[in-house]
Symmetry: C2
Subunit: 364 residues, 2 copies
């Protein structure tokens, strides 16, 4: 028994905002455009503002989204939304603006005290949204999740609601052309991890498996080239694969790698995609030992050893994290809601081993 739902309408290809921007006109009269500080550079913000203007829609830009957005950042967005009288949301940027936009869309309709934000059980209402990703990684444009920094629990935690699927996603690879190497690599590692973790999820379905396999089939051959110069076509492939991986985790959720990686981001400030990449190899080694790695290997057309070598090359020198910190992260990760969804759920000792070995520390 499984269910499937992915109601977002996707427009994919060069200048899709020009071609299909009129579709935004059904969303409302006044857009809050949620973006980060650097999103103006790649042309996406101006394309969105042009499309809104052409439709006769008003726009207020909220460009103060910080990486790994906080509840305070979301509150600031909601205040601006209300002051401006905006009635729908356009997100422009990477995962952080998209996550913040979703939280604004939900929490502006359903009021919650800070302490209740991660308590779940959200209703099915949120302001309508369109998302314009400018990195090829998060897939947030096609998921019902918003991931926020959870200071109370000292981690990142996802909010989930059927209302968090955007109405529209506009995917144009040109917005990713000028991304620097580190963002290209890290976001590609995030997309890779989504697809592979989806295949390693207990909650996987025939639909999520199809989507994840297709994501890896397209993404894996491009992955080695993310450290160098990518063609326009390769950029498009990455963006498409990241959306497929997003559609996969929209069904299955993520698993152990994400569950452990949040610690590295919260406590060490390591970029989210890189955090996944750093932990992926040793997690895959465990999956291999437990006989559950074959789906990932087959979809990549590579064995686990080759996959680890590729990731190692992209990741370069690893962060120097004290042994005690790593053991602390392992301790915190036990019972994490993503980890328990893994097709093989690692024991505490195995989680310790993954953290230690991922940073070159001996396990004894």
């Amino acid at each position: 028994m499984f269910s499937y739902r992915m109601p977002t309408e996707i427009f994919f290809g060069r200048d899709c905002l020009k071609t299909y921007g009129a579709r935004l006109s059904g969303l409302g009269a006044h857009a809050l455009v949620v973006t980060g500080r650097s999103s103006a550079k790649n042309g996406a913000l101006s394309d969105v503002l042009s499309a809104l203007a052409a439709n006769g829609q008003e726009a207020t830009v909220f460009d103060r989204v910080v990486p790994n957005p906080t509840v305070a950042c979301v509150r600031e967005g909601i205040a601006l939304l209300r002051a401006a009288g905006a009635d729908f949301i356009v997100a422009v940027g990477g995962g952080s603006p998209m996550d913040a936009a979703k939280a604004i869309a939900l929490l502006s309709v359903e009021e919650r005290a800070d302490g209740e934000i991660f308590a779940g059980n959200y209703g099915v209402r949120a302001l309508p949204m369109a998302h314009v990703p400018t990195t090829a990684g998060t897939g947030s444009e096609v998921t019902p999740y918003a991931i926020l920094t959870n200071d109370e629990k000292e981690t990142k935690t996802s909010i989930s609601s059927p209302a968090l699927f955007p109405k529209f996603a506009f995917l144009d690879g040109k917005y990713t052309f000028s991304l620097p190497r580190d963002i290209t690599v890290n976001t590609a590692l995030d997309a890779f991890s989504h697809a592979a973790e989806s295949l390693l999820s207990r909650a996987g379905t025939p639909m999520s498996k199809m989507l994840a396999r297709e994501a890896l089939r397209i993404l894996y051959p491009v992955l080695p080239r993310t450290g160098g110069t990518l063609s326009a076509e390769e950029r498009d492939e990455l963006l498409y694969a990241s959306a497929l991986a997003g559609m996969a985790i929209a069904q299955s959720g993520t698993t152990a790698v994400h569950g452990m990686g949040y610690c590295l981001t919260y406590f060490c400030g390591i970029d989210h995609g890189r955090a996944n990449g750093l932990l992926f190899g040793e997690t895959l080694r465990l999956c291999e030992e437990k006989g559950v790695a074959a789906d990932v290997e087959e979809a990549c057309g590579a064995d686990a050893e080759e996959i680890r070598r590729l990731l190692d090359g992209l990741l370069g020198e690893r962060e120097n994290i004290p042994r005690e910190s790593l053991l602390g992260f392992a301790e915190r990760s036990v019972g994490n809601k993503n980890i328990v969804k893994s097709v093989y759920e690692p024991t505490k000792g195995e989680i310790e081993r993954i953290f230690l070995r991922s940073f070159g520390r001996q396990t004894e």
Copy 2:
């Protein structure tokens, strides 16, 4: 540039109506349950009525849908809907009840004179619907199409509207367990043709190709067994594959085989799925000659000759149709809106060849 939309929420698996039937409660207060005369036999109708009753929803059954439904049948359904005061629709059955249900959902909201029904340009409103397929073939539960008999043009013609995607589809293979051999074979041929034609469509997208390949990967190995006794698992696979094929044509539409097949149904009363099967082999031969058959062969894991042999075995003896009739069907098919979407668009002479050879007639 391509777009993707498939907003239907799917519940798949044994007793999914029992498990998820409460989801129907959001659709309205009073359901018109649209079905054929034989749908009571497989248990689907009683499961639907039980789910509606458990939700406290009223139900009026319209069980007079005829195969290849006509506009008159749709009008009859609309009259009953209005007399009963129904505000949503549940379709139970094969392609015909699902198509009729969609037309009722659309035309009860958007009034059209008979002569305007096939004129297109429908709005985006229709009554909300849930579909419960009881054959593994049409995929209508996940498409925005309703195909009706078009007496003015003496063919079957599709109506298309974004509003024709059902809100929910409940797919339970048990409703197909008791289907007789001919319906099992013919509906499987329909699903096969959807997936293969989608791969042969000019309007194909990366998403439709993924869905069509996956449909064929699952369906093709089961196809030889449709002529015999199928296990419950194989029935489930057929039903899932037919939905995947439906999702594929929801993006790409169908192509030459459907475009030609409608004549065989309208003038000779040949079952829709069988009509596609009868024309598929010779259409594939033409595609082979034109170098566009590889995607279909690869997805099936079989070459064109093997595919033709398999279809021939399932189809058995072919109908005896006069040469003049076949030439007339070819004449009518030229310029058909499905045929012109074929990745290789057959000429009039090639369409004649397909019709003639499909029924064992010499081409000279």
